[in-house]
Symmetry: D2
Subunit: 357 residues, 4 copies
Amino acid sequence: MNIFGRNIRLSIFGESHGLGIGVVIDGLPGGIKLDTGRIEDEMERRSPGRSGISTSRREADKVEIMSGFVNGMTTGTPIAGVIRNTNTISKHYEKDLMRPGHADYTAYVKYGENRDYRGGGHFSARITAPLVFAGAVAKQVLEDEGVSVGAHILRIADVWDEPFDPVNVSAADLAAVSKKDFPVNDDEKGEQMRERILAAKNGRNSVGGIVECAAVGMPAGKGEPFFGSVESRLSAMLYSVPAVKAVMFGAGADFAAMTGKEANDEFYIKDGAVKTYTNNNGGINGGITNGMPIVFRAVLKPTPSIAQKQRTVNIEKMENAEIEIRGRHDPCVVHRGAVVIENAAAAALLDLLYDRF
Amino acid sequence: MNIFGRNIRLSIFGESHGLGIGVVIDGLPGGIKLDTGRIEDEMERRSPGRSGISTSRREADKVEIMSGFVNGMTTGTPIAGVIRNTNTISKHYEKDLMRPGHADYTAYVKYGENRDYRGGGHFSARITAPLVFAGAVAKQVLEDEGVSVGAHILRIADVWDEPFDPVNVSAADLAAVSKKDFPVNDDEKGEQMRERILAAKNGRNSVGGIVECAAVGMPAGKGEPFFGSVESRLSAMLYSVPAVKAVMFGAGADFAAMTGKEANDEFYIKDGAVKTYTNNNGGINGGITNGMPIVFRAVLKPTPSIAQKQRTVNIEKMENAEIEIRGRHDPCVVHRGAVVIENAAAAALLDLLYDRF
Amino acid sequence: MNIFGRNIRLSIFGESHGLGIGVVIDGLPGGIKLDTGRIEDEMERRSPGRSGISTSRREADKVEIMSGFVNGMTTGTPIAGVIRNTNTISKHYEKDLMRPGHADYTAYVKYGENRDYRGGGHFSARITAPLVFAGAVAKQVLEDEGVSVGAHILRIADVWDEPFDPVNVSAADLAAVSKKDFPVNDDEKGEQMRERILAAKNGRNSVGGIVECAAVGMPAGKGEPFFGSVESRLSAMLYSVPAVKAVMFGAGADFAAMTGKEANDEFYIKDGAVKTYTNNNGGINGGITNGMPIVFRAVLKPTPSIAQKQRTVNIEKMENAEIEIRGRHDPCVVHRGAVVIENAAAAALLDLLYDRF
Amino acid sequence: MNIFGRNIRLSIFGESHGLGIGVVIDGLPGGIKLDTGRIEDEMERRSPGRSGISTSRREADKVEIMSGFVNGMTTGTPIAGVIRNTNTISKHYEKDLMRPGHADYTAYVKYGENRDYRGGGHFSARITAPLVFAGAVAKQVLEDEGVSVGAHILRIADVWDEPFDPVNVSAADLAAVSKKDFPVNDDEKGEQMRERILAAKNGRNSVGGIVECAAVGMPAGKGEPFFGSVESRLSAMLYSVPAVKAVMFGAGADFAAMTGKEANDEFYIKDGAVKTYTNNNGGINGGITNGMPIVFRAVLKPTPSIAQKQRTVNIEKMENAEIEIRGRHDPCVVHRGAVVIENAAAAALLDLLYDRF
């Protein structure tokens, strides 16, 4: 199912080593000005090959906008963004050895002999590039409506960044962190995280982490009961991002240890608007935005591609085997994942913003 | 958006204090035998008023099956299950004081003056009754296909139950725990949990917790890239359940502290089938089932209705106010939530099972 | 697939001889006043048993509104309308003899042994009762927005009524015809039509016809390319009404004989608004409303249930057979069909009205 | 809404004079062999510029398959087909004069100043090229399942071709007509039709017509009540094709003049299978296929672009005006429309074929 959204619909396609990847975005109004330079910046933030802590595969990730966009403005009809794959080395990929932690085996079961196994095919994290394109478009539309989205690396391995203040986080805070190459609130912690990544790389291993994302400026009243809650729609989007294995809103897992008295966000009036003193609910009550910052976290597992010998199966011969993964891989996907999650969330939030009532 | 599912479609309706609540289930094949006694048992497990640790509102929750079901068999056309509300006391509910942690304020923003505010209206946890009906139907259909689902209370406040063994959990294990009144693997821990709940009640407070759910027997290859992943569809369903604020698959949040070497589930062949030694991925690779048990956790926040004075706003007068919630409330929703989550998950899993390829 | 609509979603259920039938309507805003008396009138217009030209099965078709409606106002959450079947005589229906022109055989193939065959089950025209309920609600919401819908019998057998004037038809014209028991513009033609129906009945036969429907007041700009055209969405709805076998917009089939010069509706400005001199396109250009009256026709086939011996098959024995249909049947469904089509169209038009841009 | 389908999902994009047009096809299984030569043939059949009776705009309409297709086989993931626009002359198009019969005015209302007005933009019949690509893929998949689809020109102006025999039409019949450049059953009638088209062209006018389409080999039991009928889903697709203004199944509009006795298709058993003697219902009972040939007709209006002076409005100045349309236009779209309808129908039929039960 390559389609997401109710009001904004994304249709995504492509494989890691195919001709190209892309996305069709339907549902934007006409007459929205889009700054393609900012879209390119966003693509660049996600793109691989920029440092020792990411894969050395270098992709320009130049998006060609095929439709729906004339003279710098949306026309109101579907926007198709297409990215050609240019730097593909397929020889590293073996068809019959299932890489642990990857989708090789499940793709085999689902699609059979003719799956595109090269580089994970359609399951490759490379398919997040069109998602970032869609999000970069969405972020500009959201900004026109006064909504800002930003994400930072909250944790890599045992190093934690300073979390967002769920009550007071501002558009400026989000902008500040989201333009960084390595998006953390505390750059010293960022240095330590980089060290953990390089250590993992040197140990032919990988590390996981947590991305925290926030949105400010979303009006109250977005999201719908029963099955269209903000949490349902955001988590459905976030779980489309490869490596995400947990999603938590507001106090998230910490709610399990709280009492109702501690957990409830009491209301008060400030400058004629309803606010809450705390924001344990992450800006969402009953699945609907309450006007406070929307705050959530996504846990990303460590990159499954590690340069160590692992036990696996040869699916053709149906026998036990060993695999040593070669190729160019990220020892950690959390920093690039932060860019993806920020943009994926923007796409989902725009869909929510367009709810009617 | 009251509709869930691609292959099985649920349409839910109703308010806590209205005439009735219900669900329409579309997409089941004809000729499936349903045991209505077992459906009643499931409704009974969720139903309120059975003990000191739940609300004293007593509802028979008798489901009248209006269509799609003749002589104990599905006909293949939509099954409508309707439950009349019988025991409603609306006088406890004040229209203008927004209960902290509840959807009162967001419902006000979304629907305005004419929202049904009595007992939370459509946002009431009571609306999970038809969801349990749908799940009880789904569980029987799943069983016919060899799939079992079960859930237990993993944690309430500071007390933890024994988790499921993610590699070896069996249909028998799931059946054993899911038929308990207070579903825990370790009944001693269950006793301690009950104590925590009663203590919270006595302190006019409430407690939260975690539900762990597992499914065994799901064939490999279910779920779809890019936006139709098992995690996306299960989490979208789980976040429809009131009080759920975090959803985690497999090792979940623990992935943040693991290395790739630790996290990867290595493959091997056993009795001609592909298995994994560990199951950190919770039975899901690349969003697709891999044939191992599907394991996930949902965190439920403490009941927001507590019998203490709380700060809030009077939305009509737009001024700060205080509220003391009366009425009949659960000091903890985790034990009833376990039943809801088990059944909600069953409905989502049946939808996944019917994916075509 | 029991669900219709993008912005307004209808979920329909029920069988002719089951416990009850109904519909869930989701997507209406809160705070809309609904006159239940007018809804009852609409149900009464469709209801059987009122004259010699319809079936003698008498059903009160009393709709119980279970949810989403308090103190005469919508709450904004799903409205469930449930109608109990009261007057069912199932003995007339034979399970194994497939009635020609009906869905007996296709239901057998699709659902197998356990289909509900009594009275056509879910395929019965009786299931249009909840559709009329949904349409009666939609008509009131449309009226609040200045949109009127009306339908008349354009043709029965060889008798034609006066068609609507596609350029000048007014809300008053629509209201005048749509409140008639036998909705025709020219009552003399209506008398002749009744004679044709009675003649068919006496001849143990049935007759078909055409319903013409129009809507005025729809703003320009509704509907969407490519797959969301007004024609696509209206026709999808109309073809859900049993017996409809052709749907035509504006000049419809007559376009085949026209030249471009004749067919094009030239524009001009009147009182500051864009109008067309003619309205061959039925108010729709490129799938989008242009502000002129929306005009379309639906052809209904003659009732398949006729009291004559017909050749058929016994599906159990898989051998040729004969059938003589008993029971209470309409010798013509066009007059009741006009009510159904008017209301079904209203539901689809409301869905279109709520398109965002 | 650029998305069609439940089981097969098409996402279409592009404008007549933009960078390119295309479609993403999701939902095909892996391992289906596709003959790209046959796809090219189908594109060629639709492509403009091949004769005096079509527009002189010449487009290669070369489809680049970006994804989902490796070594001549589908992989199971989305197939994106992209066609670059090469031969665009935009100077002929005036922004402010609304062409009668076109979507210029409705696009202006819907999208405003920034719509892509060049050549009709997204409303151009050129957008049917990706639809033909999708249909050409679908036809091959259908053939693997024993289903054949074919269409012919039934009527242009006053000239009628021989209709298909609705009971006995065969795959060979369909193949024979669908490979013709000018698809008619009776080539003499075809010559007369060409004369009518040339006469219209010479008179700076245009003509309309009817396309008849049939499918054989569809198994009984496809389609779904209540809103998923074969007629609903086929007509929704057909009404997406520009110029279609009427859709009729089986006897279609003729049902209005028939009695039940005449209209009913009586059943009998032939070689162990259930057949009908006649096929007035066009292979569909109760919205479900009955195993007989599926037969339907679509009426196409005359091309609105005619080289005569027409009255219109200048939308910028909001005043009455005149327009003389230049550019390269078809004096008749029915022969190219037959190719589009055949392929569009194939895409919708494949979606129906994949219904589960």
